[in-house]
């Protein structure tokens, strides 16, 4: 089946919300981190896998503005190379796209097949890189709100005692925002088959930090009456490896650029409701986690029967 309206909406919303948190809320932290050797049965054995202690990495290179922000940086650093030392002490640097280097922004790791001379790098390299890690991972989910709240997710610490090993891939970890489109309804708007498609997108925010929860909820409430650009399902910027689609984004992915070029078709956030899970319930189901809910009502004017 070809992608439908809902796929486009969720793709567009995901990318907008990710950008909104990072751009308006500076919801990231720049860091220099070590990458630890890991194994991953899901990948081809020719790949050497090295993982940072964090996930997810920021992959939007358009956020680096050149203007110093409240964090004292000029925006998030998008990992585009790794550097390290071989066992014999020689240092090396591999930029993205060479030596088969792939950067898995979703899982906070890199994997590659060989070095600049096509030599296999081995398993005991000391690798490091500079990257921005998101304050909130963002996941699209089909799980119900109740299932999400009750599930015991692992927490991937951003501050304090950082683990000295790579983070396990694929599992969803906190802090995170889980989003999902719940209901869609077309309501007649004008002659000629023009409808308002109303979609309810629900987000569950889960974190160990109350300050961060308040930040996200406050920003979400302020998003009422904003609009965001349509991004086609096929233009989602990362591949199955979690790396940037270089064919679609040859100079790097930039949401700002997408926003500038996609001004004709917009989604409109008609209403936003935010709420926190009461302490009485939190203590019962997940005492160490603060949980918030965001209900977005998104409108799009379209002619569904003509598409």
């Amino acid at each position: 089946m070809k992608p439908q309206f809902q796929h486009t909406l969720v793709t567009s919303f995901y990318l907008w919300f990710d950008n909104y948190l990072q751009k308006k809320g500076e919801a990231y932290k720049n860091t220099t981190g070590i990458f630890y050797n890991m194994t991953d049965d899901r990948l081809d054995s020719s790949y050497n896998v090295y993982s940072s202690p964090y996930k997810q990495f920021v992959f939007d290179s358009g956020l680096h503005t050149g203007v110093v922000n409240s964090q004292g940086t000029e925006g998030p650093i998008v990992l585009d190379r790794i550097s390290g030392q071989r066992e014999n002490g020689n240092s090396f640097e591999i930029p993205q796209g060479t030596s088969g280097l792939k950067i898995d922004y979703e899982n906070g790791r890199v994997f590659f097949t060989g070095d600049n001379n096509s030599n296999l790098p081995g398993d005991s390299l000391s690798l490091s890189g500079q990257f921005a890690v998101k304050d909130f991972n963002l996941y699209v989910t089909n799980q119900t709100e109740e299932d999400l709240v009750v599930e015991k997710f692992a927490t991937n610490n951003r501050f304090g005692n950082i683990q000295t090993s790579g983070v396990a891939p694929y599992d969803q970890v906190l802090p995170a925002v889980f989003i999902g489109a719940e209901t869609i309804k077309n309501e007649p708007l004008a002659f000629g088959g023009l409808d308002t498609t109303k979609t309810n997108v629900k987000a569950v925010v889960m974190t160990t930090d109350l300050y961060c929860l308040d930040c996200v909820l406050s920003m979400a409430a302020d998003a009422q009456k904003r609009s965001f650009a349509k991004v086609n399902f096929s233009d989602f910027p990362v591949t199955e490896f979690g790396d940037i689609k270089t064919a679609t984004y040859p100079t790097g992915y930039s949401y700002n650029q997408i926003e500038k070029s996609n001004t004709s078709e917009m989604f409109h956030i008609e209403e936003v409701n935010v709420s926190k899970l009461s302490d009485r319930v939190t203590k019962k189901v997940n005492p160490d986690i603060f949980i918030g809910f965001i209900d977005f009502e998104i409108h799009k004017y379209r002619s569904p029967r003509a598409e």
Binding site: T144, D147, N273, S275, K276, S278, R280, V281
Partner: protein, 193 residues
Amino acid sequence: MSNVVVPRLAVEAVLKQTGRFVKPVVEPKLIKEFRKIKEEMLSEFDSHSATRELVGKTSSVPSAFVSHGSLFGFIGFDKSDNPTEIVREMLKTSELKFIKIKNEVVDFKVFYPSKKELFSATPLPWATGRSWLEGIESGMSGLGRYLSEESEASRSGGGIQSEGTIRSGRFRNAKYISEILNNFIKKINNLSL
């Protein structure tokens, strides 16, 4: 017989006064009709299965909304809560008001609580930014059961007595206050004397 010509200004002068004479005749009839429609709205609200289950609190009969326990317990109300009371009180404030007379036009307006106002007045016990009244129509998760099963064998009397991992089952949403208000508005629009 010759035609009688009434001057235009005289007609206008009479028309201008019509409203004053029409109002005392029309108003009591309108109020009577309005009261009837309002009573019908309140009775529709009272007899709705959601209202009846919430007023009843316990799960003596199978719920139309949840597969286990009661709707009252599912939402997580406290035994002392009377959640539908505020909705009924707000619906009761609906009124017909005389606004003005302009020439032959007598202007009355019907005031009633909007859905938004009703939703704001009906917070979920476990997430106060959300409305249980809206949740009955659009669906809601069963996190309220953790409140109901809290302490002394469920204070709301109808929660699910279970530990941790058992889910509360699917919630069956239904048309509720929107339908009641729509029916009310339809009747008001069709009101004739």
